[in-house]
């Protein structure tokens, strides 16, 4: 994959603007929204491995987000472990959970897979609520410490944004590398035709588990970041409706596209704010919007742009990642 100079420049400019954002924004809530957008972008990237590339519809993204959050929070609050260790530990533990969920449901397709993952999400939330001696149950976990390097503490949303940006960037690069490798091609082959993929020598069971693992890893990272930036987590945050919302983010941005996933995360985080003037009409508009999206723009925003570019023969205008 050759990196096109123009796209790199555009990416560089966007990155620069994002780096300057915390210096320009003073309203706490606005900065907090950007942090949330970054976290949801990571979650959506994770779902992209499963749904966008492999064709596995998972409704458990929020559960892994929750497992990552709780693991990191408990390590920090109960054992005093530093964020810099808690994050990787949470990510790895969440990955393990992803493999454990994925393994028994490998043979399920379509709606059945979605239902099984939905069930998993419900179970995870119930476990967190009821195992209260360990997880603090419905009270949630408060006082999750901010990360620190020496005496510098990431205790404001503006400072924390750099952590989220760095994580998002690294995870985007990893996703791009995976997409253009034999693994990424194998995952997409499974989506396109599982029988043909298996016949071309792809060990589909193993690769599906890899997809679950990757998705869970990303969710675990997002979870840890979330816990330490909001400093309070509770079980109800990680319900299966959030999983559905993350799916909508991927659909809006463009399923399969890396930039689409990030875009979807940002759009759906800011949309409720932009539509705040609608008050109680917001949910109705949101619901109608999803229907319109599925009918007229099933490939999402990036899909629409790609189709428009291709129809005009402008392959150079197609977003490369």
């Amino acid at each position: 994959m050759r990196a096109n100079r123009t796209w790199l420049t555009i990416g560089g400019v966007i990155l620069l603007i994002l780096c300057l954002l915390p210096q320009m924004i003073t309203a706490r809530y606005a900065m907090h929204l950007f942090n949330l957008a970054g976290i949801f972008a990571i979650l959506t990237l994770g779902l992209n491995f499963l749904w966008g590339w492999t064709g596995l519809l998972s409704m458990a993204t929020a559960a892994f987000w929750g497992i990552g959050s709780y693991t990191s929070a408990l390590l920090a609050v109960e054992l005093g472990i530093s964020f810099w260790l808690a994050l990787p530990a949470a990510a790895l533990f969440t990955t393990l959970c992803g493999v454990i969920m994925g393994y028994p449901i490998l043979r399920l397709r379509g709606h059945y897979l979605a239902m099984a993952t939905l069930g998993f999400n419900i179970i995870v939330v119930l476990v967190i609520i009821n195992w209260d001696t360990f997880t603090h149950g419905g009270d949630g976990i408060t006082g999750i410490p901010s990360p620190a390097i020496g005496s510098f503490v990431f205790d404001t949303d503006n400072k924390f944004f750099y952590l989220i940006l760095a994580a998002l960037l690294l995870l985007i690069i990893a996703a791009v590398r995976i997409k253009h490798s034999r693994l990424g091609r194998a995952l997409q082959a499974i989506r396109e035709s599982e029988i043909a993929a298996e016949t071309m020598g792809i060990h589909t069971h193993y690769l599906k588990i890899l997809a679950f693992a990757l998705s869970a890893f990303y969710s675990g990272v997002a979870g840890s970041l979330y816990a330490h930036v909001t400093m309070y987590i509770s079980p109800d945050i990680f319900n299966f409706l959030e999983s559905a919302r993350i799916l909508v983010m991927l659909l809006i941005g463009g399923s399969g596209s890396i930039i689409g996933a990030v875009l979807g995360g940002f759009i759906l985080t800011f949309l409720p704010e932009a539509l705040r003037f609608m008050a109680s009409w917001y949910m109705a508009v949101f619901g109608a919007g999803i229907i319109v999206l599925i009918v007229y723009m099933p490939a999402g925003i990036t899909g629409l742009l790609t189709n428009m570019a291709r129809r005009r023969g402008r392959e150079d205008l197609v977003i490369p990642i």
Partner: protein, 266 residues
């Protein structure tokens, strides 16, 4: 015995339906064997059994002396059996080149860590994958379509793409399931050429086909299935004069004349 493929007493039941009964078949090294028979006679089922999509209800399949019946398709592909499908099963939303590159999956090994950290080994392996894919595309005359999405190819090229993809897996035996289906005479001639060239590469071929011109021109040996049983196995003149074969295709009660070049109806 130079057989690379040997089917021993193969039977396959689907619920109460016996799709195959006591089928014995061999493919020798460097041979092109055609498998023909009326629709529903079990030809594709047999191919599915060979490449592991189904497991035999009875009997065993040997490839280069090793038993492969019971292995999963990806393991069998790894052993060296490649395959194309009767109904085209490409990866439609992926570029033509990527479709063929997928064929290299079982011959390469970069894992998740070498991919994410983009090691030197992974980069050179990736380069090799791309090279080989372009080679196979060139071999089948599809090189200029490399960047096109597979679903945009015309039908005949899609069939050739399936073959390129299967060749990328480094097979020693290639299973072709009705490669000429839907092709006109010119396309079939091109296909025939390619099949010959594939054999020249040292790959043995088991070919399921309905196009008798193609079958008779290119096969070393022809096996005939009817209602799940093998009713004939021999060279083209043996098959052409075989009464049971003729009845299977054309029915009973018609008298036939046999001349040197084929069968005519009286």
């Amino acid at each position: 015995m130079d057989d690379i493929l040997r089917l021993q007493d193969i039977g396959k039941w689907f619920g109460g339906l016996e799709a195959l009964h006591a089928v014995e078949l061999t493919v020798g090294k460097g041979e092109i064997v055609a498998l023909i028979g009326p629709n529903g006679s079990g030809k594709t089922t047999l191919l599915n059994l060979i490449n592991g999509i189904y497991t035999p209800s009875s009997g065993r399949i040997f490839f280069n002396g090793t038993q492969i019946s019971g292995l999963t398709p990806h393991e069998i592909t790894r052993q060296g059996i490649g395959r194309t499908f009767q109904t085209i099963r490409l990866f439609p939303e992926m570029p033509v080149k990527d479709n063929v590159m997928v064929g290299r999956h079982c011959r390469t090994r970069a894992g998740i860590l070498s991919v994410v950290f983009r090691t030197g080994a992974m980069k050179s392996e990736e380069h090799g994958i791309e090279e080989r894919a372009l080679q196979e595309l060139k071999f089948l005359g599809l090189a200029d379509q490399a960047a096109n999405l597979a679903r945009n190819l015309p039908y005949g090229d899609q069939r050739l793409l399936e073959m390129a993809r299967a060749l990328a897996t480094n097979p020693t035996l290639l299973l072709l399931d009705e490669p000429a289906a839907g092709m006109n005479e010119a396309e079939t001639k091109v296909l025939m050429d390619f099949i010959g060239k594939i054999r020249d590469r040292g790959i043995s071929i088991l070919l399921v086909e309905h196009d008798m011109n193609l079958v008779m021109s290119i096969s070393d040996r022809i096996a005939v299935l009817n209602f799940g049983k093998k009713i004939a196995d021999g060279d083209k003149s043996a098959i052409q004069s075989n009464q049971e074969v003729i009845e299977a295709y054309l029915g009973k009660g018609i008298r036939y004349a046999h001349s040197g070049s084929g069968v005519g109806v009286l």
